[in-house]
Amino acid sequence: MRALLLLLAALLAQPALAQSALAQSALPPAPYAYRQLDDPAQEKQAHDLMVTIRCLTCQSQSIADSDASMAGDLRSEIRERIARGEKPEHIRRWLIERYGDWISYEPTSDPILWPLWGVPLLMLIGGAALAATRIRRRGRRNGRRGRNGKEGAGQ
């Protein structure tokens, strides 16, 4: 059954049911939407790809964990292509060509995404450097104070 289009639930529930009835009668079926591939290695390949493909009609769910019809169709498509021996990355490129970057959770090497890696790295290095210099400065001052035999707060 359809489920979980929480925000659009009221609006979508009826059309979605109608659509699925239509899909069953007119459109090509999605045989592998809820069926695994027989070869476990291929199924694992398909699964690893599916968890990184966004369900476009849901919110923040991958096609691997959605009941939406779009997710089911894509699962079936992916499993069939894997069964035919296509490489997962090839399938991903095909999906991105068809639906845009939005569909893939897997970060690309597009320069627009560099800050995603750069900012945390800078935070880590900058923060570590700052903390280390401060602690070392304190250490030196402690040592000096120790020699002078003075006590009390710093600064």
Binding site: A13, T52, S60, D65, P107, P115, L124
Partner: protein
């Protein structure tokens, strides 16, 4: 009548918050004691009035008064009583009213019970608390009035979203809100201390119980939310890096860092400026989370408000409070004297590492959550999801775990690296052993993250209990037990996560009644499927007999259809064993009459939430251990001991 009473109480509470702010500011600026002595009574009255307003809203939902727009939109007379009750905050206006109510109550509690703090800092804190409340009162009264009437009144309401009709969800948002508000109190303490230039151990000890309590509630809220997503969404996932989940994770990360730095400040009087900064960040993250969820800027499974006007209102509040606090921080940070000193090898330094890593993880979650919005503004839609977060936050979290083992085994102020290394020998050996065993037994089946997750979990589990070795267990303070249990909980939780991602078995199959299937050593027999009616739903329910070895049980997964509003949900059936969970979902019926079944065996998945609860329990024990003495003294002395109360510092 009840609605009007509620609205009047809300307006009066808002007016009192304004008065509280005024008294505090004028009193401190002009040094007038008579003005300052008005702050506490006003804060208490404000708390009582806003509580009254909230109770009015609950009463309206309880009576299903459909002449109130909010009730008509979000409730239905046929709803079970629990959801009538919880429906009061299962919507935008109601949840914001809950927010200010908790804030008002917290303000009253600070006014009533806080004795350790200096009087001027105390009054400045209450002033800051009033300033925050005021913004939220304005938000409620001007853009989200929960008491608006509907004329003519409809015959019945539209009902509560079925996904929210779940006992877990009835209490999940309030738990998180209590946590957020607890952080707002910490924020007010920080602002108060900056205003009076008293950033010291005394202030840290006054702030610590609020941080701890907020952190415990956030931990429980996130753990419960994760379990809800796990059993309600029907695909066995327990964390989706959904923006709304991230919105609750970010304050938790900041609160975790704050909890540790405030301990350094309270115990060693070090990290003064940083602790204040973290208190500002922690509440900012609560506000950012509220903004993300409430503005509808991210439409996601949890968000139930879509209204740009509200979004800009919260954004304005966000800018005023965070901007104001940061400006105050910038102005006053020069007057915050450097605290006590410590060496590179010391517990303080390891807690700095803890804070650094938590802050970077927070940065990762923040940028990952906001980045798609930013690129979308430039016309390029991208998705940032689990692959990014797992890859970058995962290793950082594991590094944090290693620091967590070393921290409690290192002395305050100064220690010797060799000595600390010697204390770490057993956890290190345990990790080596676990790595070797896993490498042989599960060679090639584990992802790197799962492998290191399991290995480090073993080391952390052992390392976290070492602080209890060679100690008189009876005389060990409660807060040490709290720390040990919370750290052990981290190991338990990480082990569960790694085990789930590494060893889960999935089976998707179409079955007719009478069919039998085997998966992961379990035999499942599909006995029958039959319709079933509930209070406000109808369902198809399957009977599935499951057995493994001698163990037998019957599971009842359902596919539920709610009539108001019309929605279908899957109710998974979960069998919990000591070593994992069997998770069965009934899907759609196929044309040939068979039913889709989804079956997972998830070894040790329950450890994820068990660990979360242990972490929360550790927080509770620490809270009791640290504050018991103060509470007992306060009880004994009663109101006679009103005054500065510095003796309990």
């Amino acid at each position: 009548m009840i609605a009007e009473l509620g609205l009047a109480a809300l307006w009066m509470a808002a007016a009192l918050a304004a008065l509280q702010l005024l008294f505090s500011v004028l009193g401190l600026a002009q040094g007038k004691a008579e003005l300052l002595s008005g702050v506490r009574p006003v804060a208490i009255a404000q708390g009582v009035l806003v509580l009254l307003a909230f109770l009015c809203l609950v009463a309206l939902f309880w009576r299903s008064d459909m002449s109130v727009a909010l009730v008509a939109l979000n409730s239905h007379s046929a709803k079970p009583w629990l959801y009538k009750f919880a429906g009061a905050w299962g919507n935008h206006e109601g949840s914001m009213l809950l927010w200010v109510t908790v804030m008002g109550a917290a303000g009253a509690a600070v006014a009533l019970f806080e004795r350790a703090l200096r009087r001027d800092t105390h009054m400045a804190t209450l002033g800051a608390q009033a300033a925050i409340s005021l913004g939220f009162y304005a938000f409620l009264l001007f853009s989200s009035n929960p008491f608006a009437r509907l004329d003519p009144a409809p015959r019945d309401g539209q009902g509560l979203n079925p996904l929210l009709q779940d006992p877990g969800l009835a209490f999940h948002p309030p738990t998180l809100y209590f946590g957020y508000v607890g952080l707002s109190v910490a924020f007010s303490f920080a602002v108060g201390a900056l205003v009076t230039r008293r950033v010291d151990a005394l202030f840290a000890r006054a702030m610590r119980p609020w941080v701890l309590a907020a952190w415990v509630l956030l931990t429980i809220g996130i753990t419960a939310g994760s379990y809800w997503a796990y059993y309600e969404l029907g695909w066995g996932g327990w964390w989706f890096w959904d923006p709304v989940e991230n919105a609750s994770l970010m304050p938790w990360l900041a609160a975790t860092a704050l909890l540790h730095s405030v301990t350094v400040l309270a115990t060693r009087d070090a990290l003064r400026a940083w602790t204040v900064m973290l208190a500002v960040v922690a509440f900012s993250m609560s506000m950012v989370g509220t903004f993300l969820v409430r503005s509808g800027i991210l439409t996601s499974v949890h968000a139930f408000a879509v209204d740009p006007e509200r979004g800009s209102f919260i954004l304005a509040l966000l800018a005023i409070y965070i901007g104001g606090a940061l400006a105050l921080f910038a102005l006053r940070v020069g007057t915050v004297r450097e605290g006590a000193q410590f060496e590179l090898v010391s517990r303080e330094a390891l807690l700095v590492v803890n804070n650094l890593l938590l802050t970077v993880i927070l940065g990762v979650v923040l940028i990952g959550t906001l980045y798609p919005l930013m690129t979308e503004a430039f016309g390029h839609k991208v998705s940032v999801g689990p692959p990014y977060f797992d890859r970058i936050a995962g290793p950082l979290a594991l590094a944090l775990m290693l620091a967590m083992v070393a921290g409690p085994l290192t002395r305050w102020r100064r220690d010797r690296a060799g000595v600390v290394g010697g204390r770490l020998i057993w956890p290190l050996l345990a990790m080596l052993g676990a790595g070797a065993v896993l490498g042989v037994l599960a060679h090639g089946r584990l992802s790197l993250l799962s492998f290191f997750g399991l290995v480090i979990a073993v080391g952390v589990a052992l390392g976290s209990v070492i602080p209890l070795f060679k100690r008189n267990l009876r005389r060990t303070p409660l807060f040490v037990y709290g720390m040990v249990i919370a750290h052990l909980g981290c190991a338990v939780s990480i082990a569960g996560m790694a085990s789930d991602s590494a060893f889960t078995t999935e089976k998707l199959i179409a079955m007719a009644p009478g069919d039998r299937v085997e998966s992961a050593g379990w035999t499942l027999h599909f006995d029958r499927v039959a319709p079933l009616a509930g209070d406000n739903w109808i369902a198809m329910q399957a009977d599935v007999s499951v057995s493994r070895g001698g163990a037998k049980a019957v599971l009842h997964p359902q596919s539920r259809f709610f009539t108001s509003p019309p929605t279908t949900t899957t109710e998974s059936a979960i069998l919990t064993r000591w070593n994992g969970q069997l998770y069965v979902v009934l899907g759609e019926q196929l044309e040939d009459g068979r039913w889709q079944m989804r079956i997972w065996w998830k070894p040790f998945v329950t450890l994820i939430w068990l660990g979360g609860l242990m972490i929360a329990l550790g927080g509770v024990l620490t809270l009791i251990g640290r504050e018991r003495r103060g509470w007992m003294l306060r009880l004994r002395k009663g109101s006679a001991a009103r005054g500065t109360g510095e003796e309990w510092a």
